[in-house]
Symmetry: C2
Subunit: 548 residues, 2 copies
């Protein structure tokens, strides 16, 4: 099967029309029925597959980086009386378990990116539901700040997954209904079991939407509200100057090697290991927001993390059998630390802010990747500041304690706050839950940590000497890749997110795990399962009634 690529551009969108009008952008959904990623299903009624969501994710990123003048985004549909029918069921029915799970993971990340843009970039989203809004369609609306529903006596919002398909809404619907919109649990229960959903005043009263509008007053209600949302935004507006273009990454792919400019990835298929290296910049990097803007997508840290993001998505969707990522870095730590200082100093500038949150989201993508992550810290490596987050994101790290040319690791202010995990804590805070005072202590440390210092400070897992190094690393990897891939996925999903829970960790930890379970069950995917028989006229699902 052809690998799926995640880079796209508005010029090539098949499913979305992106329009700009001053402070407002309009994201119009008009899914091309025959434009699916695979044959075998038609994307009717604005239903979507991964390709549709890749464009949506791209659009949201481009609004953030390329259009600083935009302060409010309208999400609506160009189809008559149809907003969005949700994920395409026939696509799900023919997909492998692993694909379904990774499809949901990506769509969840896209919706969380919308909420991240609202919370952290002053970009407010309004969903105008011009008609049928079901399942993933309503979940997309739930990711927006406000939801308005056409009041035509017919259009409803619904989560019909349980009654129609025997699965859960897979994109955070249940969690956002109870935890974001705080709908009462009995109302949520009723709503989630009626295939037709809820419309009109009841939808407003119970909190599923924020308001209704008659078709004739669309511009009046929605247009006015968009202007109000725009007025509350802290985005720079036109005087913020032009944005930067997210240029294509153009990786060179050669067999099992992928070479980006700063990231290289090579697959060891026999051992099911991907080796991913991130290189520090070689040239001097810009030191002012204006210079960063001029550098644009060539600015090292933005480019490096866009490359890492692309590599991670490639591994998840196209390389299911790869079970372990070995992370390394290389280059001049001082250059990375210099970039960190500039990011910190200008964190309030809109573009720098976007870059920081982009790094944050990419690191979260790493945390949520269902592969074991091992960081190797060797001479010549560059685990400094922002790049040290890679070692903190790893399940384990090994640092070679070579007294002559021993590597160092460095912390910076970027490890102290801006790059929070899904649980709302930094990776250092999560690591030192037992002793929060250690966070400040290691951040106050001046200069590099040598291997012994790093191990004593708790920054790395093991620091074997040069006699043990090769055996320790080899054995560690050999043992890891021999373990059950399912047990590792479940174990890592539990161990990586200690401490507080958020809407985000609930979606990935609780909702996703239940959905994965249901996605395996004969009641959903068996020959007579609800997901399998959906749409086959005359066939009804047959259930094994035992409750577990």
């Amino acid at each position: 099967m052809e690998p799926i690529r995640f880079e796209t551009h508005p010029d090539r969108y098949k499913h979305w029309k992106l329009e700009f009008d001053g402070a407002v952008a309009r994201l119009n959904m008009m899914v091309a029925e025959d434009g699916g990623l695979h044959d075998g299903y038609k994307l009717k009624l604005n239903s979507y597959d991964l390709g549709v969501d890749i464009e949506l994710a791209d659009a949201v990123e481009r609004i953030r980086f390329e259009h600083p003048e935009v302060r409010a985004v309208l999400v609506t549909s160009l189809l008559d009386r149809i907003f969005c029918a949700g994920a395409n069921i026939f696509m799900l029915g023919q997909s492998s378990h692993g694909f379904k799970v990774n499809f949901c993971k990506f769509t969840n990340e896209t919706r969380l990116a919308i909420e991240d843009a609202s919370e952290n970039s002053g970009l407010k989203f309004l969903a105008a539901l011009n008609g049928t809004c079901a399942g993933g369609g309503y979940e997309l609306a739930l990711a927006c700040d406000e939801i308005y529903l056409v009041d035509d006596g017919n259009s409803a919002v619904s989560l019909p997954e349980v009654p129609l398909l025997g699965v859960l809404p897979g994109t955070g619907g249940l969690t956002r209904v109870t935890d974001k919109r705080k709908v009462r649990r009995d109302h949520a229960d009723f709503f989630s079991t009626v295939a037709d959903g809820i419309k009109g005043e009841r939808a407003v009263k119970w909190g599923f939407v924020d308001g209704l509008y008659p078709n004739s007053k669309y511009e009046e209600v929605v247009g006015k509200r968009l202007q109000e949302l725009a007025a509350r935004s802290d985005r720079p507006g036109p005087e913020g100057g032009p944005g930067i273009a997210l240029e294509p990454l153009e990786p060179r792919r050669d067999g099992d090697q992928t070479r980006y400019r700063y990231v290289t990835m090579s697959l060891d298929r026999a051992r099911r290991i991907a080796r991913v290296n991130v290189a520090a910049p070689e040239s001097e990097q810009p030191t002012t927001p204006e210079a960063i803007r001029e550098a644009g997508a060539d600015f090292w840290v933005l480019r490096a993390f866009r490359e890492l993001n692309d590599a991670l998505l490639d591994l998840r969707i196209n390389e299911g059998e790869i079970g372990t990522i070995v992370l390394t870095t290389g280059g001049d730590a001082e250059k990375v630390l210099a970039v960190d200082r500039i990011l910190t100093q200008h964190a309030d500038h809109w573009l720098v802010r976007e870059i920081i949150h982009y790094i944050k989201r990419t690191l979260k993508r790493l945390d949520l990747t269902a592969k074991s992550i091992i960081a190797l810290i060797e001479p010549g490596s560059c685990f400094a500041g922002t790049l040290f987050e890679l070692a903190l994101a790893a399940d384990r790290s090994y640092m070679l304690d070579d007294p002559d040319k021993g590597p160092s690791v460095w912390l910076s202010s970027m490890n102290g706050g801006p790059l929070k995990m899904s649980n709302g804590l930094t990776r250092l805070e999560t690591r030192f839950l037992a002793d929060p005072g250690r966070v400040e202590k290691v951040l106050e440390h001046d200069g590099p940590f040598d291997p012994i210092e790093a191990e004593e400070a708790g920054l790395v897992t093991f620091a074997p000497d040069d006699i043990d190094w090769e055996d320790d690393v080899r054995l560690g990897l050999e043992e890891r890749v021999a373990l059950s891939p399912d047990a590792l996925t479940g174990m890592e999903a539990n161990l990586r997110f200690a401490g507080p829970e958020t809407l985000e960790t609930k979606i990935f930890g609780r909702l996703t795990a239940w959905q994965n379970w249901i996605f395996q069950r004969p009641n959903a995917v068996g020959e007579k399962g609800a997901l399998k028989v959906y749409g086959n006229a005359g066939m009804r699902p047959e259930f094994d009634w035992r409750r577990t």
Copy 2:
């Protein structure tokens, strides 16, 4: 298959020896190899099945109610150099999916009950690991306040589920390692992937145990620490007077009817519905702690909730096909509210405290039961105070709006704090997350709520009038019982626990869901799955390496 019963008594224990010595109780594990609930496996090396855990749960309850003089509990083993090998793997291998899941749910509730006794009843638990302590054995230790490990150069603590069995530790192990003991995630990762576990000083340094003792200093270290823990307890001691005996419930079972004294349960197998009714007391109830002690296990609220607890466990383990519980109540609300007043007034008395926490745990058991819960509030019903929690625990409630003989519901101070859910909130707080002010408002309401008031206050889901009642309820139930049982289980596990997460909700929401997923996967339970081939000499698991 013979139904499994949950009532037992120390006189009948096969697997534990319970000893009392002043302020200290000793819970000695010595599992009878041939004493398993089913044939086909031997409970070697203090491995356990559900029968072993039923005795443990019983022992903890009896220490709380029958032995107020006990302030510290030692959990240890009478086998030489073996503490506990965890859940019996051959038992798991031959169990159905539903049984495995409900087995883990019960063992989790038992360990949480140990923690509840520590947090709320001043009963401190010390685990003395006299030898091998693996998997569920270490998870039992993790539920204790402190863990001491024998330092014999050999004995280790371990969670070998991932490396040996391809499943997760199923009794909260991963969650307690990261969130209770706050072990660093990379240490936890290493620990959870090495079958032999960790011993000696490293186990202490990394936080897996609290201390070591050589065999020769067992009494010195453990005995001394038990006395210290006992000294810090707020339990009454000998002057608290005798405890009360938890007498057998002796339900009368007749076909699909089970009659306890206050609880009746009848199964409608055709529709897969259990109708459970809880009756208010008919006689006057005691009004002082001394009178409550004299009434003992006959005190209405204790007896009624012990009966409900037993009925719920029966439904879970023995009645898998029952998908829905219809909850009703009956009797004199004033008698229930009078009991609530006495419980509130004497909440500090050790016995009243135990009764309140018992009610709390039983209601949590209801929240965690994987069956739909519908409350019907009709004339003659008695949803008052503590019994109104049953309606609040329901996924939906229907209240008949009959203007002539319309039922009422009542709140009491018992709805305002003591009966917290697993998420740390009361059911009213969880219900009104969107508008926390409503909690206080409904609690301040004087007297009964009629159906219109109850619906407007948000206390019930629907209040149909007598013309609609029959159709609404019938249709609601018909539609519910037709839905996919798996999708309902996942949906309810998400919708019932809005708001904050706790160690407890993490165990049931996150860990359990991942474990259920893994328990279905061929890599665990297929012909060549790790759980299936374990113990078959010469057979090694064969994995499908795709990561999801």
